[in-house]
Symmetry: C2
Subunit: 110 residues, 2 copies
DNA sequence: TTGTTATATTGCAATATTACGATAAATGTA
DNA sequence: TACATTTATCGTAATATTGCAATATAACAA
């Protein structure tokens, strides 16, 4: 049905899923990596960086912003986007924790 | 159009996106976390753990396996699934790297 | 005000995803 | 062999996502 049964899972699980889903697209990964590369904030030159229409990129930026992965501040006519440090850190910790737990368990299956 | 323009991005970006997309669903996160909790491998009791139909869970397991996040080995009538350590580590590193890069740059934007 | 530039929104078409019942396939057991 | 158990696959319905052209909005400049 294309609809996810969110009620069936914990708040944490749903939140993590939303965060990951927001990044889980090559265009949005490219945007995140571009923001990372151009130290200073970036505005609309992402459009000239990626081979996607301006409308499409605006949509991807919106999704990233909604998920709290980036933030944008108006800068005259342009808009300055940059990464939300905390959220990236949260994701880094999530996977690090799992990784560590796997390493600590000495089960020899599979 | 619902179709992603994969040709426009790097192999790495596409691969990362596929990995993240495979996890980016509350049911699949729940599966991963369950696999993590029950030290030893798990088989079909994920079905009794989650309020989803067996067919649905089998589908989610397939996606996780296709993405290389879990692996499964036949164990009699049952199938024993467990996490693929390396892939989780790869993701942990991906976000750690980004997180570190953000911390190292002293730009004061946004 | 008028024009220009930068971004956002709308409306659509094409695909993808999610979920599940029904059924198949595989393996072990009586 | 016949049956039970476990997992996979198929088919289908409902919904979500992706991408873009067209258009709207916002802010500045002349």
């Amino acid at each position: 049905m294309g609809i996810t049964k969110s009620e069936s899972f914990t708040v944490q699980q749903n939140e993590t899923a939303l965060l990951l889903k927001a990044i889980a697209h090559p265009a949005r990964i490219a945007i995140v990596e571009h923001l990372l590369k151009v130290q200073s904030c970036i505005c609309g030159d992402i459009v000239s960086e990626l081979p996607l229409a301006q409308a499409t990129i605006s949509q991807h930026l919106k999704e990233l912003k909604n998920a709290g992965i980036i933030k944008g501040s108006v800068e005259g006519t342009a808009i300055c986007y940059c990464l939300e440090k905390e959220v990236i850190e949260k994701l880094a910790q999530y996977f690090s924790t799992i990784s560590n737990q796997i390493n600590n368990q000495k089960s020899t299956c599979c």
